[in-house]
């Protein structure tokens, strides 16, 4: 290698980086397209597999395909052909996968062993067989061993255009299947008994799902290697679940996450030399999973925490309004309440209570001046509703659930914040409470306290 100064090296690398990132090479374009489509197909097939609750099966299939590749190679070389025919090698992998599925089913039927034990066993035995076959190949054809090693760890960079087009073709087939049969797959995965009763060929549909998984697994071996291909099938759909509660939407979000992980991972590994593409793709997918877990708009952690925070705040708010109302009720006048008196009524911390009150003041429900605290007209209305649903619930518990009146307050506390108007209406009907909705029933556990209107 001729001597180069630092500046030249930098220019060379910048040039290479530019060529890769902006897809200047035909080869880069094809490889990125190939892995993208593969990722899309993996997201679709993986969603089906996950909802079928057989995610572990993909790992078993991936490992089981190794002896298929090796034996097909030996067969090709033995019959005087070149061993480097991708289509034939992948065909061998498919045969091995099918053999593994048959092995699992036969063992399950004849021995009644549990499926997880069978999956682990078949995985390791087939993989062991594959390693032995690879050993034979390495001994007899040492020059070829590197080529077959790539099935273990994947080698996206080594994909030649014709390989990539094969990937695109197979993946496109899977995408078409997922798009055509989504109704039937949904029915099969949600309620296979109902599907069967409707006359759907559930076993054949199930086999179709498995075939899609096998095809993704076998094609994925080229890109990420058979050890990591399971990640492509499992990570995108579980990440997608954080974003959607809809079958189709989840599938296509998984497809997008899969496609982006693969394309991005391929590009990154192209930019960083000696970085194996398979591992980078899986790590990219894991990053997207992590982001989905936190940011997902349906089941993400942030959303859950935000909802929990809101409920806590709403609960505090309700409790404060109700406490003010009940204190006023006892005072039997439209006067003011003292902050300290309010605080003692419910063992609040002064800090929390002040914060809650300031919020209520901002909402225009509470007036807080030097004279003390009182409810605004809208606040009074709001508080009346709260006290009403709280007491209705208490009455219900006492009447129908046999809860002692002295214990009923706390149980009602938890539930009243989640009572929707429909349930409150149902309670009213049940209890045949006051005919006017404005009337607040008496507190059922306040026998020693003055009643509404100050009659006691």
């Amino acid at each position: 290698m001729p001597w180069r100064n630092g500046r030249e090296v930098f220019v060379m690398e910048w040039d290479a980086l530019f060529r890769i990132l902006f897809l200047q090479d035909h080869n880069t374009r094809v490889v990125v397209l190939g892995t993208f489509v593969l990722g899309v197909a993996a997201g679709l097939a993986g969603s089906l597999l996950l909802l079928r609750k057989r995610a572990l099966l993909s790992d078993t299939l991936a490992h089981a395909s190794l002896p298929g590749v090796g034996l097909m190679y030996l067969l090709l070389v033995g019959s005087g052909q070149s061993g480097r025919q991708l289509l034939a090698l992948l065909g061998g992998a498919v045969v091995a996968c099918v053999a593994a599925v048959i092995t699992i089913n036969l063992l399950k039927q004849t021995t009644r062993l549990k499926e997880d034990a069978l999956l682990s066993m078949v995985l390791s035995v087939y993989f062991g067989l594959g390693v032995v076959v690879l050993g034979i190949i390495t001994r007899n054809h040492p020059e070829q061993s590197a080529g077959l090693q790539k099935f273990l760890y994947g080698s996206t960079a080594a994909l030649i255009s014709s390989d990539a087009w094969l990937l695109v073709g197979v993946a496109a087939g899977i995408i078409v299947l997922a798009a055509c049969f989504w109704k039937e797959f949904q029915l099969l995965l949600f309620d296979s008994g109902f599907a069967a009763s409707e006359g759907y060929p559930v076993q054949r549909l199930d086999l179709l799902v498995m075939l899609m998984v096998v095809l993704v697994t076998v094609c994925g071996m080229q890109a990420v290697g058979l050890i990591l291909v399971v990640a492509l099938l499992v990570i995108p759909p579980v990440a997608a679940r954080f974003w959607s509660e809809d079958f189709l939407a989840m599938q296509w979000i998984a497809a997008l996450i899969g496609g982006v992980s693969c394309a991005l991972g391929t590009l990154i590994s192209g930019v960083l030399p000696n970085m194996p593409a398979g591992a980078v793709i899986v790590l990219t997918a894991a990053l997207l999973f992590f982001l989905s877990m936190i940011l997902g708009i349906k089941r993400g952690i942030l959303l859950r925490e935000w909802n929990a925070f809101n409920l806590r705040r709403k609960t505090e708010h309700h409790h404060a309004l109700r406490a003010i109302y009940e204190l006023l009720e006892r005072q039997s006048s439209e006067g003011f309440i003292d902050l300290e008196e309010l605080r003692r009524s419910r063992s609040w911390s002064a800090h929390n209570l002040k914060r809650t009150l300031r919020r209520a003041v901002n909402l225009g429900l509470v007036e807080w001046s030097a004279q003390g605290i009182r409810l605004s007209p809208t606040g009074r209305e709001e508080a009346r509703k709260l006290v009403r649903s709280h007491r209705l619930w208490e009455l219900y518990l006492i009447t129908y659930a046999d809860v002692a009146p002295s214990h009923v307050d706390r149980s009602a506390d938890d539930i009243e914040h989640v009572l929707d108007p429909q349930l409150v209406a149902l309670l009213e009907e049940k209890l045949q409470a006051q005919d006017s909705r404005e009337v607040v029933p008496k507190s059922p556990h306040s026998t020693t306290l003055p009643e509404v209107g100050g009659s006691a």
Partner: protein, 270 residues
């Protein structure tokens, strides 16, 4: 059919001739799981336009009966006919409500999606779900008072609401014969009344409704006709004639251990 030497035959219909008008006629059906027989030699006709209850203790084969007549579990022997024809020709006449526990309620679909599944066979393969099917599904949800929950994710529904969704799906099937596996299990009183009202409505339209039921207290009020099951048909016939202490003792009492011991022996056979 020759009935000179019948095996364990249904008591209410010894040596009985099958009718071609019966919505369901079951001929000498025996069902086994893993060699262990769970239903012995069931032979009966279900009358048309009746609300038929299937009762019996746990493990009596009630669910198995409902599944076996639809070919959902393999039969050892016997045949089933619907209006005199085999299942394959008559499947469109059947509506099915599986047990609520048989599915994963965390599945990513909403209530309307589940009800729409009852229309898929009518929609057909490869076709989009048309507006008419959506309207039919919404109408079915509405019948069960669930129209307001159409877009609700199914995991957010209460047990009673989930059961209503399952029943709405069966209504969306627009069947003539309904097979329901414990549609009243674990539901609240209000839901039970709603569902029972729907079942009566179906019966009044002339449909035949088979219901696996577990609550003996409501049997007399709910069902016109009963099948008392404990691994075999102990009795079947109009509720007023078969629902009495002696039959209940035979169904729920310990006198039938011989059958279950025989089943155990068969299951253990190598």
């Amino acid at each position: 059919m020759n009935s000179t030497n019948p095996p364990v035959k249904s008591m209410a219909s010894p040596g009985h001739e099958h009718s071609h008008e019966a919505p369901i006629s079951v001929h000498d059906m025996t069902v086994a799981y893993d060699k262990r027989p769970v239903l012995w030699d069931v032979d009966l006709d279900i009358p048309e336009g009746k609300l038929v209850g299937i009762i019996g203790p746990n493990g009596a084969g009630k669910s198995t009966f409902i599944k076996a007549i639809q070919n959902l579990v393999p039969r050892v022997s016997g045949s089933i006919q619907f209006y005199g024809k085999p299942l394959e020709e008559q499947r469109h006449l059947l509506g099915y409500v599986p047990q609520r526990e048989s599915v994963d309620w965390d599945f990513p679909v909403n209530a309307l999606d589940v009800v729409l599944m009852g229309r898929y066979r009518k929609v057909g393969w490869f076709r989009r779900i048309g507006k008419n099917h959506r309207e039919a599904a919404l109408a079915a949800l509405d019948q069960l008072g669930m129209a307001g929950f159409a877009k609700r994710q199914i995991s957010q529904l209460s047990g009673g609401q989930q059961q209503r969704v399952f029943l709405a799906r069966a209504l969306a099937q627009e069947a003539r014969i309904y097979l329901m596996d414990e549609p009243l299990a674990g539901v609240d009183m209000a839901t039970e009344e709603t569902i029972f009202g729907i079942l009566q409505g179906l019966r009044n339209e002339g449909k035949t409704v088979l219901v696996v039921h577990h609550d003996l207290q409501t049997v007399r009020r709910y069902f016109d006709h009963l099948i008392l099951l404990n691994m075999r048909v102990v009795a079947h016939g109009p509720t007023s004639t078969v629902f009495h202490d002696e039959n209940l003792r035979k169904t729920y009492g310990g006198k039938l251990t011989l059958l279950s011991e025989a089943a155990d022996a068969l299951a253990k056979r190598p």
